[in-house]
């Protein structure tokens, strides 16, 4: 049993990581925990969890069709695990969606607000209905454990054939509709993948993938529980899948030739390489492998072949789901580890539920021995922890819990805290303005500079005595500190008071009590104010009144100081209305426009208000 225990420990660890990341996702939003962007609004969660998940669950409708419709009695051992996998797959898709949706608590809106034109609306409804159908198809299995619900069970068994037919029809619809989703993106999706018959391609590939997923899962679970593999049965599946893969290959080749995109396949671009690799892995190699009778009867090649189809077809879903759109949108997207961990965590959780079910219910012909049955076995001494863990059944649970707690805390520790706190605003240090009588004010050196005629401003403001109008707060002993010395960050506020330096023996060398009164709580509020020691810090007659020592971002500080004054002067002085316009500062630098070509021109703030990243934003959402 140790193989199962190890697998479960790994699965629990992955679930733990996903649990910590998932909590952060719900608390802090998508931006903090994903690499999704306005360019790439759909990422790994849609490509893998939703598109891949639904396709992987296709085994359910394919196997039930074989057994109940085509009456292939020999497929009986595969039916229950396939239906269970499909059900878990769909639940996993829904849980994955709950993390991906911006407003997951509104997921039920699809039931009441209808837009039948939307393929996503159809997919949503089919997923809801088919998950229910799968639940009804599978529930006789847990119900047979007790005689209490015998009537309900017999009713479900009577309904089984209609349910199976309904399930196949629903699967046909939404396996293909997942392809329809992308028909509306002819300009995003790469032409090698975009096709008006995407829905057909998706359906055929889902059938192939469904069959191979059932085979692959059978191989893996038999290996896990050290049971003899169902080689003969999988051989039959492998023989059947050759036809499906053949049809799929034919459709794709005809589609490429018919739309005269054959040149694109061999163009050597990133997409062409991806296309060839995808088609080789998902279709051509397994097709060749399973066409050879000797190979498709060997369990080793069965594992390889089915694994290739599963990997390749999921790759196809990821390619269509966004990977091949990057060249059209010009974006770059690499899923963050947080995204990957949630995706794999959901799969791992589904795996754990699957193992739980096969150990306790009659999913396989022969139920594998579970840990519970070992509760009267001899306790073993754990070599790693040197702790007496009780009987083996209990010991394994202790290990799972331990791994969960450890990995959960690791996940919390490694969360992208910096991104969460900055809300995606990059930390950009503001640099000092350069020049002599005319300064180039461009804190982040991005070319959005302003040519600031310092000498002229001194003149018009009223000479050397009027420095204080703009230099509203200066470092001790200084009369004209540069703006950047307090407003040190381009886009974020910062504390102008340097506590570290004041307490440092190599700096101001102050004892705590010199600012904080003993007995009081030690915080900025109860401490001495800066002006109590530095009397010359805030001069009178300044344009800005400093009432706290949080310096607004450089960009905001510049705009507030300059714009306020300019707007005032524009109304006061006759013929100077132009002063209030952006172009009076932005737009000229020795006659040249300072804005870089192709750069967006942005207006940092409508009212020059101060933005604190920690401050709660209030907004009105208008219809």
């Amino acid at each position: 049993m140790d193989r199962v225990q190890k697998a479960k420990t790994v699965l629990w660890s992955i679930v733990a990581l996903a649990a910590s990341v998932g909590t952060a996702r719900l608390l802090f939003g998508l931006g903090a925990t994903t690499n999704l962007s306005d360019t790439t609004p759909w990422g790994f969660w849609i490509g893998f969890d939703v598109m891949g998940g639904v396709a992987l669950a296709a085994g359910g409708f394919v196997t039930t069709a074989f057994f109940y419709i085509f009456k292939r009695e020999d497929f009986h051992p595969l039916v229950r695990p396939a239906v269970l996998t499909a059900f878990l797959g769909y639940v996993a898709v829904i849980i994955g969606l709950l993390f991906d949706l911006g407003l997951p608590w509104n997921i039920w809106h699809m039931i009441v607000f209808w837009n039948p034109h939307s393929p996503l609306f159809e997919v949503g409804w089919c997923v809801m209905l088919y998950t229910t159908v799968l639940l009804l198809e599978f529930s006789p299995v847990p119900l047979e454990e007790t005689s209490r619900y015998a009537r309900m069970r017999s009713l479900l068994l009577k309904l089984r054939l209609p349910l199976v037919i309904l399930g196949i029809a629903l699967s046909t619809l939404h396996q293909s509709s997942l392809g329809s989703l992308f028909l509306i993106m002819p300009f995003r999706l790469h032409p090698l993948w975009y096709s008006p018959i995407l829905p057909v391609q998706f359906f055929v590939s889902a059938v192939a993938l469904g069959m191979m997923m059932v085979a692959f899962e059978s191989v893996v679970s038999h290996w896990l529980y050290r049971r003899s593999p169902a080689t003969e049965l999988i051989g039959k599946l492998a023989k059947a899948v050759v036809w499906v893969l053949g049809v799929y290959l034919l459709i794709r080749v005809i589609d490429i030739v018919a739309s005269s995109e054959l040149g694109l396949v061999f163009s050597g671009s990133r997409e062409s390489v991806l296309f060839i690799i995808e088609l080789l892995i998902s279709t051509i190699i397994p097709l060749v492998l399973f066409s050879i009778p000797v190979w498709r009867r060997q369990s080793r090649w069965q594992a390889v072949g089915s694994g290739l189809v599963v990997f390749g077809m999921v790759m196809n879903r990821i390619d269509v789901g966004g990977l091949t759109m990057l060249s059209a949108t010009g974006g770059s997207y690499i899923p963050s580890w947080t995204e990957l961990s949630i995706s794999f965590g959901i799969v791992a959780a589904a795996g754990l539920v699957f193992l739980f079910a096969v150990e306790r219910l009659h999913v396989w012909e022969k139920r594998p021995q579970d840990e519970q049955s070992q509760q009267f076995a001899m306790p073993r001494f754990d070599v790693i922890s040197s702790v007496w863990l009780g009987n083996p059944g209990m010991a394994s649970r202790v290990k799972y819990s331990l791994s969960f707690i450890l990995v959960f805390s690791l996940g919390v520790a490694f969360l992208p805290w910096e991104k969460i706190q900055s809300k995606g605003v990059p930390q950009v240090e503001a640099l000092r303005a350069r020049g002599g009588d005319t300064l180039v004010v461009d804190g982040n050196l991005d070319g959005y500079g302003v040519a600031f005629a310092h000498d002229k401003h001194v003149e018009t403001t009223g000479g050397k005595d009027k420095c204080v109008v703009c230099h509203h707060m200066n470092l001790p002993g200084d009369k004209q500190s540069g703006c950047y010395q307090c407003h040190g960050q381009m886009y974020t506020s910062q504390d102008a008071f340097r506590h570290d330096w004041h307490a440092d023996p190599n700096g101001a060398k102050l004892a705590c009590v010199q600012c904080h009164t003993p007995g009081d709580e030690r915080n900025a509020k109860s401490a001495k104010q800066c002006k109590d020691c530095h009397s010359d810090l805030i001069p009178a007659g300044a344009a800005v009144v400093v009432d706290n020592y949080y310096a607004p971002p450089y960009a905001d500080a510049m705009h507030r100081l300059c714009v306020t004054c300019h707007q005032q002067k524009a109304t006061e002085i006759e013929g100077k209305q132009a002063l209030a316009q952006c172009a009076s500062c932005h737009g000229t630098l020795s006659g040249q426009n300072v804005l870089a070509a192709d750069a967006p021109v942005t207006w940092p703030s409508s009212e020059g208000s101060v933005f604190l990243p920690s401050q709660k934003l209030t907004r009105s959402h208008k219809k």
Partner: protein, 252 residues
């Protein structure tokens, strides 16, 4: 009247008054650079932006308010819809945050509140409430040079054509938005190529909702067809098994 905006790129001086007016009207927060923003200046807090092209050529970017919008057709809950007056508006109360609208838009316009735990889709709504009051959008009202003007779509198209015929050596012989993706309510005439406003330089004249319409219309037939096919096959096989004396299959 079908509300529309005509932007004449040759007249724009890049003063940003439209951007500022939009911010004031829609009470948008100050804009900060974010890791997830596109480089075109549009963001959750910037519903219109000025993109500089070449020397002294400024192109205002905003939602095109397509006549048959891809976003509205894509939204599974109908949170986006085209109003009678011409604006494509957003109902945050219906939205579930799937972001399909962002994927479907051929111009890549809708933006998202990525930093919010409760995020919404954000884009230009053609100052819908002002339209209802009989006023024009804040941006066109603010434009000091008349580079971007508000009016009836047919009248603006006529005006655009008049300007092009008057100065054929200045303008491209094309009104962006007249026919592409079935026509848009925000029109452009320009002396620089505006292909960069969409994902592909030429979008074709087919409205985007038509791309999925064929597949969606086939849905009932596929459902009934597949169901019927399976029931039929099952009946035939069951009958064959009965006639050949084979055992009844399907039950455990």
């Amino acid at each position: 009247m079908k509300a529309a905006i005509l932007t004449d790129v040759t007249k724009c001086i890049g003063c940003l008054e439209c951007v500022a007016a939009c911010k004031r009207e829609n009470k948008l927060e100050p804009d900060l650079p974010r890791l997830w923003q596109k480089s075109d200046g549009l963001s959750a807090e910037n519903w219109t932006s000025i993109v500089r092209r070449q020397e002294k050529r400024y192109v205002r970017k905003q939602c095109r308010h397509c006549i048959e919008p891809a976003c509205a057709s894509a939204c599974p809950v109908g949170a986006l819809h085209k109003t009678e007056k011409g604006a494509v508006v957003y109902d945050s109360g219906k939205c579930l945050g799937c972001r399909y609208c962002m994927m479907a838009c051929p111009y890549g316009i809708p933006r998202y509140d990525w930093d919010q735990p409760v995020p919404y889709v954000r884009k230009c709504i053609l100052c819908y409430s002002r339209l209802n009051e009989g006023r024009q959008p804040a941006c066109t009202e603010a434009c000091p040079t008349g580079a971007t003007v508000f009016g009836d779509r047919d009248e603006l198209l006529a005006e655009a054509r008049r300007r092009i015929t008057q100065q054929p050596n200045v303008y491209f012989d094309r009104i962006w938005g007249e026919h592409e993706v079935g026509g848009t309510s925000v029109l452009y005439i320009s002396d620089v190529d505006l292909g960069f406003l969409s994902y592909q330089p030429r979008l074709g004249e087919k409205p985007m909702p038509e791309t999925t319409a064929i597949a969606m219309n086939a849905v009932p037939f596929a459902f009934v067809g597949m169901g019927g096919l399976m029931a039929g096959i099952n009946w035939i096989i069951q009958r064959r098994n009965k006639l050949t004396g084979g055992k009844e299959g399907g039950e455990e």
